[in-house]
Amino acid sequence: MNFLAKLFYKYKKFLKVARLYLLIAGPGIIVMMADNDAGGITTYTVTGAQYKFYLIWFLILLGPVAYFVQEMTVRLGSVTKRGHAEAIFHSFGAFWGWLSLLDLVLVDWLTMITEFVGMTAALSIFGVPRLVTVILSWIVMGAMVIQGRYWTWEKIALVFCALNLIYIPAAFMINPPVHEVLRGSFIPQLPPGGFTNALFFLLMANIGTTIAPWMVFFQQSAVVDKGMQEKDMLWGQIDTAVGSFLTVVVAAGCVILTGTLIPGQNITDAATAAIRFMGINKYVGAFLAIGLFDAGFLGAICISLASSWAFGEVFGWAHSLNKKVKEAPWFYAYYFFDLMLAGTVVLIPRAPLVLITLFVQVVAVTLLPAALVFLILLLNDSETMGEYKNTRFQNFANISIVVMIIVVSTVYSISALFPNILGG
């Protein structure tokens, strides 16, 4: 074969592989992008504003953490063909099942409220009233599922995921100090001022937004709904890896934005950051606002689907995005009910939104350890998993991650409940 022929062959082979990947990709990227939800974007902007680029390395470390946890759901879903809720009921019995399901519903609902808060705050920067934002997003969220095909839903969701990447061009537009950014990314260091309570709190918040219980439920159900099989597992894992890479890039983009434009300022949420940006650079401010809306939107649809799927699996309703509304009435009814309920709360004047945001973090901690422990146990059950059970390396990585997350999130929730326990 001459050079050209070889090149052509390679090119064809690559095309084939890329096509296969595109067929199977989806759940991993979507879950990882939705991971950067309204709460996530808020955390990143606050991180950047307070500590400039000093903590980017920490965010980069969280990428693999998210990958290792979510990758387990790919294997579990494609081998057992059960969603996470069903898997818990099946393997651990009704007690743990109901506990997880109730907890999931509660956490999901509370988290959804925070998503709607982010969405309305983002669009109010452009002068859109809350009511309009909420109703418009309901319509789009409904339109995404109404045609009754998983494929269409996934592709629309991927478009919203692509929109989430808006932080990357935004970060380039403001000419950040590249040298400082690179140093912050690859040299683990503490910001000047050393290890304080505020820093500890922020690090924990970052971990908290990286791994959320609904993500585990969502991805496993999506893998099942997509009909992934054992042979597709590798592609699912690549999909998750790509997603976790992108999630880190977006998070870093956010930090770079606030770290460059408003360093040292004390902000509490992403919308405030966007308003400050508006005064400095109109376009970047608009980008941040659009990104925040998109993040809230993605989060809301994924979280709502996560609990709809869970309910469908347990109660035996038809539960698939491949079904028409008429064929799976309960599944869609719950999906809309969840969205309506969360959206309505935001519209209530003077609803205790800050309190709710705090409450989310605390309640999520009650579900997260359970979900993660179940994951590890399920992945080590050789009867169901067969050759796909955790290897020794995976077990080592996963167990240490899970233990770390449990400890950190427990400390976090306790310190959120009793602010002065850390002497701060």
């Binding site: 084939k16 296969l20 067929l23 199977i24 081998v79 057992t80 063909k81 059960r82 494929w151 997509k226 009909g227 099989q229 054992e230 042979k231 597709d232 035996g316 038809a318 539960h319 698939s320 009867e383 169901t384 998993m385 067969g386 796909y388």
Partner: protein
């Protein structure tokens, strides 16, 4: 719809079961309890209410009082005539059906619509001194009435006559088995099974999807293997998983054995790995090999779907000979619509439609019937290419030919078009 009942002029009154339930029951001027249920015995066209069941306070046992003892039936109060209450405590006899317990809010099979409906109410007819079950109400009207929205229901039913249409005479009603263990109340199960055999697998799949696991299992257990196998194939993945879990593994293996490799792989690919493994060990190795090839490979080539059970003849035999051979072989053939004409080296010369074989004169040679330019697949054609060809030409099967035009097998339309492969998305 209501002809069976209305033909009898002696109907005094009709009323719904839900209106009656909970009515206070009096005996000798004393309150005895509340109406809990009615006991009926099925008589084919109608079911006669023979007893009423009275629920009593303070945990005292329920009473079964014969219909003859009831003096007045009224939703507000029911007056019965009994002396010694204790003599009416007994178990249900076989054949006696509790209407509320077994039918109300339960699913029934509407054979005409081939759908599963819910019984919202049961209509009773009072004729002379007898009470019959005349119809079951599966209408939206019935549902609204049950939800306490009778006014809305009446308003809607003025607009269309949906309500009357969906009141089904008793004789058409087939209650579905409620549980595997407790079939005593399911009066018409045997009839149901007979009728099920007439329903097309696609419709039956839709019906099964509406039922719960135990019911699905009962029905699939009772059907003949071929019909059950076709039905299992048509069911949606989540329900297939559920069915496989509730059926015995040998039974599932039997059903899978009936399928072609493509269909079998399609069903197996949606099962949990442990179930799949258990079933594969029960199949014979040659089939397993084919199925696994489809299951494991990412880019499935069409040869895995091909069957070699087809009509293959030399060009120089007569139509009469071919007809006789076809009849002999037909039982073991997957592709019946075409005759494949090959020479001694198995090279495909042409294809003849089975219709032409039957229309031709007995002494004609097959060579004269066949079409020589054949649309065929090569062994490494993909599933997608096969689908495209089927969509273009609308053949019932396509031959697969290898090097030098050697016939390797044929792919039936159904096997390819039924496969739920994401490559078509």
């Amino acid at each position: 719809m209501n002809t069976t009942v209305q033909a009898k002029n002696s109907i005094e009154r009709t009323f719904f079961l839900t209106e009656l339930l909970g009515a206070r029951v009096y005996a000798n001027g004393r309150k005895l309890g509340k109406l809990k249920d009615l006991v009926a015995i099925d008589q084919g066209k109608l079911a006669e209410v023979t007893h009423i069941q009275i629920g009593r306070p303070f945990g005292e046992p329920d009473l079964l009082v014969p219909r003859q003892r009831v003096q007045s039936f009224d939703p507000r109060e029911i007056i019965i005539n009994v002396e010694d209450v204790k003599t009416y405590v007994r178990e249900l006899a076989p054949g006696e059906v509790l209407l509320r317990d077994y039918l109300l809010d339960k699913k029934v099979l509407d054979m005409e619509g081939r759908e599963v409906e819910v019984v919202y109410d049961i209509r009773l007819a009072l004729t002379g001194d007898k009470v019959y079950v005349s119809d079951v109400d599966i209408s939206r009207h019935g549902l609204l009435r049950r939800l306490g929205l009778a006014a809305l229901a009446n308003h809607l039913s003025k607009k269309n006559d949906d309500a009357e249409k969906n009141i089904v005479p008793w004789s058409y009603v087939q209650p579905l088995p409620s549980q595997l263990g407790a079939l005593k109340g399911n009066i018409k199960l045997s009839v149901l099974r007979e009728r099920l055999a007439e329903i097309h697998p696609v419709d039956l799949a839709d019906i099964l999807e509406e039922l719960d696991s135990a019911q699905r299992a009962t029905i699939l257990e009772g059907m003949d293997i071929e019909h059950a196998s076709d039905t299992l194939e048509e069911i949606e993945p989540a329900v297939q998983r559920d069915i496989v879990r509730s059926l015995k593994k040998d039974r599932v293996a039997e059903l899978i054995r009936e399928m072609t490799p493509g269909q079998a792989a399609d069903v197996l690919s949606v099962l949990p790995a442990e179930d799949k493994k258990a079933i594969l060990t029960l199949l014979d190795p040659s089939q397993v090999e084919k199925i696994e090839r489809i299951l494991k490979k990412q880019d499935i080539s069409i040869i895995s779907f091909a069957t070699t059970r087809l009509f293959k003849f030399p060009p120089d035999i007569s139509v009469e000979q071919a007809q006789v051979k076809c009849r002999e072989m037909a039982k073991h053939i997957d592709v019946v619509m075409y005759l494949y004409i090959v020479n001694s080296r198995d090279e495909l010369l042409g294809v003849a439609d089975i219709q032409r074989l039957f229309m031709a004169n007995d002494d004609e040679l097959l060579r004269a019937l066949m079409v020589e330019i054949v649309v065929a697949l090569s062994p490494d054609s993909t599933l997608k290419e096969a689908v495209d060809l089927f969509n273009r030409y609308h053949f019932d099967a396509l031959p697969v030919v290898g090097m030098n035009n050697v016939l390797l097998g044929a792919v039936p339309y159904r096997d390819v078009m039924n496969v739920k492969d994401r490559a078509f998305d």
